[in-house]
Symmetry: C2
Subunit: 342 residues, 2 copies
Amino acid sequence: METLPQIANSIREVAALAQTSVSTVSRVLNQSGYVRAEVRERIERVITATGFVPSAVAKGLQRRQSSLVGVVIPRIDSYSISAMVAGISTVLEAAGYSLLLAHTDNQVERELKALQLFKEQRVNGVLLLAAELGEQHRQAFSLLKLPLVVLGQDASGLGISCVLQDECAASTTLTQALLARGHRRIGYIGVNDRDIQVGGERKRGYQTALSAAGIAADSTLITAGGFDFASAALAVDQLMALPQPPTALLAATDRLAIGAISRLAEKGLHVPDNISVVGMGDIDIAAMMQPRLSTVHYDYQASGSRAAHLLLAQLKQEITATSKAVMPFTIKMRDSTRQLAP
Amino acid sequence: METLPQIANSIREVAALAQTSVSTVSRVLNQSGYVRAEVRERIERVITATGFVPSAVAKGLQRRQSSLVGVVIPRIDSYSISAMVAGISTVLEAAGYSLLLAHTDNQVERELKALQLFKEQRVNGVLLLAAELGEQHRQAFSLLKLPLVVLGQDASGLGISCVLQDECAASTTLTQALLARGHRRIGYIGVNDRDIQVGGERKRGYQTALSAAGIAADSTLITAGGFDFASAALAVDQLMALPQPPTALLAATDRLAIGAISRLAEKGLHVPDNISVVGMGDIDIAAMMQPRLSTVHYDYQASGSRAAHLLLAQLKQEITATSKAVMPFTIKMRDSTRQLAP
DNA sequence: CTGAAAGCGCTTACAG
DNA sequence: CTGAAAGCGCTTACAG
């Protein structure tokens, strides 16, 4: 056999080198059909000698199967999103899919463009980590005609499977933990309601717990802003300037809680001695901070893999009904909260 | 015109509906060549009516151009990596490329598999965020034959362009800041040397500063482990059990610093009153912690976009020489360090 | 067990 | 300005 480790760029060149047909090469490449051992060996030798790598593009064109899944994320520099993507990635890669990732910087426009791009790339399915779901999404989804699973927002009303955290119950329980510690005036540091889950539901849970405890609603105790530290600082300024300031703060996310604690420190207020603070999400650092942050734990990685599994089921056409998975939570009361003296 | 908003799955069907040829449809799709306004309009109407989306797969097969860039990351749930990917993504998407993401969970084997997969998908280039570079990588790179840029490790010796932080200088400067505050016994919480940049270079910088200050090397002050909180706790236990314990701790990463501070607190040691601690990396939370963490700031997002630009230049074949970009750093002395009483 | 041929959905000279 | 035809690199019946 000639030692020509030249490069083969196509199955056809491999076939020529191995003195056989493309059909046969295709068979050994896909381990399908019968191939005489001798021929198979000859082909395999050529493949390793040339370092030939078959084109998934050509294969995909034929099979109408790209083995690609598009993942849309609003931002990547977020603990919860990273964790979800890790979960997604693990499941999907194990199933033989590759991830096409589009980050949209929270711009709906870029989100829609990403969806378009995914269609062009003929992805087999789409996973959308959503912060907001508006009319534009509704339209885009109906045009998508592709297996789709939404993470983080409730899309079941649109006939789309989704994976959610049990936001309202979580914040109710968390608020109750604060109430149980004697707090009656609890400030709420929230985010915009357009994010129905993190904005709306978490706030609703807080309100539910208060009214169940017979505490009159006080809108001055409720703030809303972005996810950034500056928003947290603003909220703290506002809340602590109240005639009757809160004895505890519930922040819609751990980041906001951390920002709040930092701002409180700047004001000379110490957590938990002067004021209790809780967050939501249980980012990895929450348990390491000083004081260790009380919060609610979500298993974001499991949420990601759950969503991936839902998509996989759709891809295998095992599933037609739209399902809505609500993930469980755990309350983690640590050191940023304390019992109020009676 | 018939109102048949049926679906067109190929340029051929569009052509039939618009009563023209595929060549012409292709021309309007790509805005190439001349098309009579009337015909163009007819085609465009069919496209919008059918919601036709051309196949990037077929196009890629023809043009031998996938518009895909493969990105390999060891983990996704890391601040620095997320930030780099954000930088990469922004630049590459603006240039019309999509990201194919593979996370490898720090397993070389999966890294090599990802590279193989990228070749199959006929990506136009590869960006590798590397924690370690071994013999297997050397081999894989030589077989890759694809534009490649490495982030986080020095691959210039392999003839591969890369983007690095100025690790050694950064940790030297940081150590000097500690020395300037009167610390003589500085413990080092490091990671495995196989990670040449974060493991080796950061340690080397620390050692350089000490020896330049005329302080005898003391190997008992140097620990090595993983990137996790448990490793930090272990290192603290070890360092603080020394007959003459350190007055300051330099952790190779902010996470390790946070883990160390937490462990110190468990031991009843307060930062910075009882001991000073510095980290490296300046994760977003560093400036928000109590105490605010002293550290060195790297612009990870800029590093990512720098790497993306290097790759883009290769893709345009503007560049042939291998370049090595060393990114700048800034020392951020905050509240986790204090002047030692003389 | 193996090969010739059609076809996946595009692009691109090449004629007209 | 427009269309027929070849070809990108595979897969898949269909014959043999």
